[in-house]
């Protein structure tokens, strides 16, 4: 199995799905249109000769200032042909939504929840898209690049009293 064969077979079966492909040190990345993701993933999993049967991981990326702003990255492994590829879908800043892959790989369940929790990317068709790491009442999505890094001002002797004044100390 080599990268050119994979690209050729995917673009042959889905002529409009592939946006771009790239290769870095022998590792193949395919950028897909979001609406084609599920069909391409199912094709890659089930097609004899490809059989990418293991979703290694998936995660979100926030490219603030770029269009499309968000990206979801999927890494697939084929145990039969000992080959690994990477799928990417770009999502817009407003209402980023992509179809869930939980029907194809159950392991996508928690990882999609984490991506939703951290980036606010909606996975349509997910069985229970709740927060998984942050508390349920948390507002916002902390790994977005427009969320401030620090939580509390750093205390020095000059501002210690101001910080103390509004710090929510616990009662007995």
């Amino acid at each position: 199995m080599d990268n050119a064969t994979v690209v050729a077979r995917v673009s042959e079966s889905f002529p409009r799905a592939v946006v771009a492909t790239s290769e870095f040190r022998g590792d193949l990345s395919i950028v897909l249109r979001p609406e084609a993701l599920v069909n391409v993933a199912r094709f890659l999993r089930d097609e004899p000769g490809l059989q990418y049967d293991f979703l290694e991981n998936l995660c979100g990326v926030d490219y603030l200032g770029r269009d499309p702003r968000f990206e979801v990255v999927y890494h697939l492994i084929s145990f039969t042909s000992r080959h690994r590829i990477c799928l990417k879908v770009g999502l817009p800043a407003q209402n980023p939504t992509v179809a869930s892959l939980t029907d194809l790989w159950p392991t996508a369940n928690w990882q999609e929840r984490e991506t939703y929790d951290m980036f606010g990317i909606i996975f349509s068709g997910h069985p229970s898209l709740d927060r998984i790491l942050m508390p349920d009442d948390w507002e916002g999505h902390p790994l977005r690049k427009d969320v401030p890094l620090g939580y509390e001002e750093v205390a020095f002797t000059i501002n210690q009293e101001q910080i103390d004044a509004h710090k929510p100390y616990a009662k007995e």
């Binding site: 948390w138 902390p142 620090g150 710090k167």
Partner: protein
């Protein structure tokens, strides 16, 4: 030399009730068995043979908050863990004390971000803060001895006397 030599052969020792209560409280102060992060390793080190915390009557960690007197918050508290820590504190029976062990428990330490509570005193009232990242076992033991001295200053109504300054 035991107490019977000092007390003569009358078999009676006189003292104040406050002293006896505080003596018994501070010399068998059982910590709650839980560690949140890397500071817990130093806490275990303080309890094992080299540092031997049982010299101060604290060798037994209780796995149930009902039987514990002291909560050693050893490590950073995440915002998701904070309600659990508070619940454990609420389940402990009075009188109870809290030591914030390490920089993270005291003020958030190096983790100034969305995930970590900036000091466990936002969740439970803290009696003694132990600095260090992580504190060495000697530092933890010193914090515990400071707490013992604080308990020894307690009045029966719960107020704490100011320490005597020399």
């Amino acid at each position: 030399m035991g107490i019977e030599q000092k007390a003569g052969d009358m078999g009676i020792v006189t003292t104040s009730l406050e002293t006896v209560v505080n003596w018994s409280r501070s010399n068998a102060m059982w910590p709650l068995l839980f560690g949140l992060a890397c500071c817990a390793i130093e806490m275990m080190g303080a309890q094992s043979a080299n540092y031997d915390l049982s010299r101060f009557g604290m060798e037994i960690n209780r796995a149930s908050p009902r039987q514990a007197d002291l909560m050693i918050v050893a490590g950073r508290v995440s915002r998701k863990m904070a309600p659990v820590v508070r619940r454990l504190y609420d389940q402990m029976s009075e009188p109870k004390w809290v030591i914030a062990m390490g920089d993270c428990a005291a003020c958030g330490g190096i983790f100034n971000n969305y995930a970590i509570v900036q000091g466990v005193d936002e969740v439970v009232p803290v009696d003694v803060y132990v600095a260090g990242c992580p504190p060495r076992p000697e530092a933890l033991i010193d914090g515990i001895v400071q707490l013992h001295e604080k308990v020894a200053r307690m009045k029966l109504n719960g107020e704490i006397r100011e320490p005597i300054k020399v």
